[in-house]
């Protein structure tokens, strides 16, 4: 879309503005009737609106929105620098800047023309500062506020428009929407005022009042990177932008963001609308006003000892005043970084509160976006590090309760849609009196404003500075992990003074480092809800799968005679014996493999073993991300119809099967990183009646990830023991297994087990 750039003289001096609907601006500045109508509809006195004290200098040519915004910024900078300028000078400046903005080559030629035009304008005393008589669409126009009455919009139209705006503004709170999305929102939530082509005018009126913030969806970045374009919605830089000829703004190289295309086209001439700047977060205030104590908030939810300790810590973090959060930084650099971040956010916040004034004094309320590395840890974050099966979901409730109780808005974001669907009824039951929106691709609540929002991470793109608490579940899971776009969205969805709580069983290394340096406050839950230690995986060094999984199939005599494959065969039968032992004790067996293509052969191989294990071949199956019947198979596995399930990392999270043992084949594979190994090991021993599930890493050689995973598990168990969270069992009932000791059934030499 195109926008018009103009400069208006207020009491305080010249102000540069741009508008996506000139008629609205024209009415507000120059038409007294319309102005009165607007003031009446909005509920303010007309005298309160700033008044144009002189003429308006307007560029006749409409520029593409992105260029208009940039030109407006430059013009404002040029105007505030100097003292007092006449209309002619401002017009010249405007024209020079916009000639630049349009990238015209003949800059100087234009300038010459301009001066000519100005001279003529002065001499004749006309309203026109046209560059040349022939080109009526070039140059600047001087509009005087004296010539009221000739604009035919009238008071009634203004009043209606302002009343519509009053309906729109609460709907836009905390939103960050493209124009098409804003119109969909209006059609859904306020069908009475749905207006097809009038939307830009309405939004522009909101921008004039300073209650809506408009801007180009793709625009120049913040000062350190002020020369590069950036998508304001998803934060993607030049790499994700494609420049194409655009029919809606007429530019030959209009940038489109390809990263967030799935949620609508964000482009340099597309309008991005943000709601009013947020009010101060109620969390700090609540703490000051002696709200409920953290312990009281947590007591209600029937948590276990360890859960309660951790959620109390988290709630205290939420309710704490900013000063207390700052003391979390122990080392000097962390302290300074945190306090600098605080300072920055508070500055942003003050800017926001200024914008909230009746009529925006700043040119057009800018769309501030978080800048810097989106993957960096946000200031005022808290990590809730709870082992697999600790009951993370239960620990969320007191946090949400604390925020909702203080009157704030909370968001729970999770990478996966089925988690959203599973959690929604539980949350609705826990907070029956709160409004809740459940968002995922294609959900019906898309435009609902609610106290509690449950969403997949992609949906965060439609919010801006909306939430006092952003809870991110499984922060190390696909697709959230490592995606700068989603991190940016999560940072942008939070109010500048809000808080982020990150939940994970396996936080990435950078985050663990931040915790140990004291840069990131953290609470650990080292024990499962049933208060038994985590099963420690033991490592079984054996030949890689390719050496034995196809061994029975090929009748290659030479291969069969091969010494190393005979060893591999024996190692495989030892593995079968272990699996058999697990099945014999009545456990469900998870077999994890690195690649989907390995599943089929392995299922066939295991089915041949089934009679020896005393189960039917039909109770052995495999599933992967490409399997449509995955859900049914997991159900069958949970119901014990299936006894052995071969799968990939797709089932590493969120699957709870009581009484299960885990075997990870080819655990040395590069695909299995530390987090994946810990998560897969976390599938075992989750229920209280069988807390000692077995976990076996079958690897050709030890890897760093393998050792790291075991170290994580043992460290958590140690922490649980020293914290006194474990059940007090007699010594011999506790099964503390050391990998090497139990590995002794068959001990292949390292050399044979290693890579060949």
């Amino acid at each position: 879309m195109k926008a018009t750039v103009y400069a208006v003289r207020l009491q305080t001096g010249w102000q540069a503005r741009y508008t996506v609907d000139w008629e609205t601006d024209e009415g507000v500045w120059l038409d007294p009737d319309y102005r009165h109508g607007v003031a009446e509809g909005w509920g303010a006195a007309a005298a309160d609106l700033p008044r144009a004290t002189g003429a308006i200098v307007k560029l006749k040519r409409a520029l593409p929105l992105g260029e208009a915004e940039a030109a407006c910024g430059q013009l404002q900078a040029a105007l505030t620098g100097r003292r007092e300028q006449g209309e002619a000078e401002v017009g010249a400046l405007l024209q020079r800047l916009c000639g630049d903005a349009a990238g015209a080559g003949g800059k100087y030629a234009k300038l010459g023309e301009l001066w000519l035009g100005l001279g003529r304008g002065r001499r004749e005393g006309s309203e026109w500062l046209g560059a040349s008589a022939g080109a009526a669409k070039e140059g600047c126009e001087l509009l005087s506020s004296l010539s009221g009455g000739k604009y035919g919009r009238g008071a009634a139209a203004g009043k209606l428009e302002a009343m519509r705006l009053r309906v729109l503004v609460p709907l836009m709170e905390g939103r960050s929407l493209l124009q098409a999305e804003a119109s969909a929102l209006l059609a859904d939530r306020a069908p009475g005022i749905a207006l097809g082509t009038g939307l830009p005018g309405l939004l522009q009126l909101g921008a004039l009042f300073g209650v809506l913030r408009l801007g180009a969806a793709v625009a120049l970045g913040a000062p350190p990177r002020a020369r590069r374009l950036r998508c304001r919605r998803c934060g993607s830089g030049e790499a994700a932008l494609r420049r194409t000829a655009c029919a809606s703004c007429g530019s030959a190289a209009c940038a489109v963001c390809e990263a967030c295309l799935a949620l609508g086209r964000s482009r340099a001439c597309g309008l991005l609308v943000r709601g009013p700047a947020p009010a101060a977060s109620p969390l700090g205030a609540a703490a000051a006003a002696a709200g409920p104590l953290a312990a009281d908030v947590c007591a209600r939810w029937g948590l276990s000892l360890a859960q309660r300790a951790a959620s109390e810590q988290a709630v205290r973090f939420l309710l704490a005043e900013s000063g207390r959060a700052r003391t979390a930084g122990r080392d000097a650099s962390g302290f300074w970084r945190l306090s600098m971040d605080r300072l920055r956010t508070s500055l942003n916040f003050h800017a926001g509160s200024l914008q909230r004034g009746k009529f925006s004094e700043r040119s057009t309320a800018r769309l501030d976006a978080p800048y810097g590395d989106p993957l960096a840890i946000q200031p005022r974050s808290f990590l809730l590090w709870a082992v697999t099966g600790a009951g993370k979901t239960e620990m969320i409730f007191p946090l949400l309760d604390a925020v909702l109780g203080a009157g704030g808005r909370a968001l729970l974001a999770t990478p996966r849609r089925d988690v959203v669907l599973e959690l929604a009824p539980r949350l609705a039951k826990a907070f029956p009196s709160r409004s809740m929106a459940v968002l995922y691709g294609g959900s019906g609540d898309r435009w609902q404003q609610a106290d509690l929002t449950l969403a997949t991470t992609h949906q965060l793109m439609r919010f801006g500075q909306a939430f006092d608490l952003v809870l991110i579940d499984e922060l190390d899971a696909f697709p959230y992990h490592g995606d700068p776009m989603l991190h940016y969205a999560a940072a942008a969805a939070r109010k500048p003074d809000g808080a982020t709580v990150l939940l994970s069983a396996t936080p990435p290394a950078a985050m663990r480092r931040a915790v140990s340096f004291g840069r990131l406050p953290c609470a650990k839950v080292p024990v499962r809800y049933h208060r038994h230690p985590l099963p420690v995986p033991h490592v079984y060094i054996m030949a890689p799968m390719k050496r034995w999984s196809s061994g029975g199939l090929t009748d290659d005599a030479k291969k069969a005679r091969d010494f190393s494959s005979r060893i591999a065969g024996r190692q495989a039968s030892a593995l079968y014996a272990r699996i058999g032992a697990s099945l014999a004790r009545g456990a469900q067996v998870f077999i994890f493999v690195p690649y989907i293509k390995q599943i089929e052969a392995l299922v066939a191989l295991f089915r041949r073993q089934a009679p020896r294990w005393g189960i039917s071949a039909a109770s052995i199956d495999g599933t992967s991300s490409q399997d449509d019947g995955r859900r049914d198979k997991v159900m069958a596995f949970r119901e014990r119809e299936l006894r052995l399930l071969v799968t990939t990392t797709i089932l590493e999270r969120g699957v709870t099967v009581p009484r299960s043992d885990v075997f990870i084949l080819d655990a040395h594979a590069k695909l299995f990183d530390e987090a994946a190994l810990v998560q897969m090991a976390g599938r075992a021993g989750r229920s209280a009646d069988d807390p000692d599930g077995r976990v076996c890493f079958c690897a050709a050689h030890r890897t760093r990830a393998l050792a790291g995973a075991i170290r994580q598990v043992t460290a958590m168990n140690r922490l649980a023991r020293s914290g006194g969270y474990l059940l007090d069992l007699p010594r011999d009932e506790r099964r503390i297994r050391l990998g090497s000791r139990l590995n002794g059934v068959f001990k292949p030499s390292r050399r044979q087990g290693g890579r060949s």
């Binding site: 494609r242 194409t244 029919a247 809606s248 209009c254 295309l261 799935a262």
Partner: protein
């Protein structure tokens, strides 16, 4: 420091190429799959597809209808009373995958598809040249309604026609305009489409092409999708109205 390490890493890393359709990163050269396209530029674009996407394209290898090039029995051409164009060829069959691609390109605005679809359209172009002889004088695209053009930001037919025009050296000209807005054509019965289309297109003002007395002018219309042929027919009618005696041909990316 991190940036420097990243640069070094980039040098050591094997070259990954992104499939322009599914955006998956493919390592090395994909196995060449047969395509009915000769032009090197177009072939180069098609080679960027990953193996899975390339094999999923339902090319029309053997057109059966002599008029519209449908690879099966064609009722539309038999039923049509007055056919203004001389011949049309289409590149692919409009199956589910292709529907997805077109929806991504047209409605979701994924402009990265433009080149791939233009390369595919080249298949229709070459088939048309083989069947009706080469040497076209002008190429044009089926226009969009102004409102929709502004909303969408681009005309998909024009985008792919422009690429084909550059590759085959046929000058691109805007020859047509829409006289009125219609609803979207998708989701309409045959009868409705034909009714809708009548008199929908008109030649643009100032449509004057230099007459070539020795032979008649050959004009090519490009479109993204050919369903009943009513759009193409009306466009051909409009062109003939402005340039009587011209030969009008059509290429379309897909045929239902």
């Amino acid at each position: 420091m991190k940036g420097l390490l990243h640069a070094v890493y980039g040098l050591l890393h094997p070259v990954l190429r992104q499939c322009p359709v599914c955006l998956r990163e493919v390592r090395g050269e994909p196995a060449p799959s047969p395509v009915p396209v000769w032009h090197p530029e177009a072939r180069m674009r098609l080679d960027r597809l990953c193996g899975a996407c390339a094999t999923r394209i339902p090319w029309i290898w053997a057109p059966m209808c002599p008029v519209c090039g449908r690879p099966g029995r064609c009722g539309d051409c038999l039923r049509r009373k007055l056919t203004h164009f001389n011949g049309v060829r289409c590149a692919v069959q409009y199956r589910d995958e292709m529907k997805g691609w077109l929806a991504d390109f047209k409605y979701r605005g994924a402009e990265r598809y433009a080149e791939i679809m233009a390369a595919m359209l080249s298949g229709a172009m070459e088939r048309l040249r083989a069947d009706f002889g080469g040497a076209f004088d002008l190429i044009t695209a089926v226009p969009l309604a102004p409102g929709r053009l502004e909303e969408r930001g681009f005309n998909q037919a024009e985008r792919i026609a422009a690429a084909v025009s550059a590759w085959y050296g046929i000058p691109y000209r805007e020859l047509l305009k829409r006289t009125r807005d219609t609803d979207k054509q998708s989701g309409k019965a045959r009868r409705g489409r034909i009714e809708d289309m009548r008199g929908l297109f008109a030649p643009v003002e100032g449509f004057a092409v230099e007459r070539q007395p020795e032979r008649s002018l050959r004009i090519l219309i490009a479109d993204d999708i050919y369903t009943t042929g009513s759009t193409m027919n009306d466009c051909a009618r409009a062109i003939l109205q402005a340039a009587p005696g011209a030969e009008v041909y059509g290429i379309a990316w897909s045929r239902t």
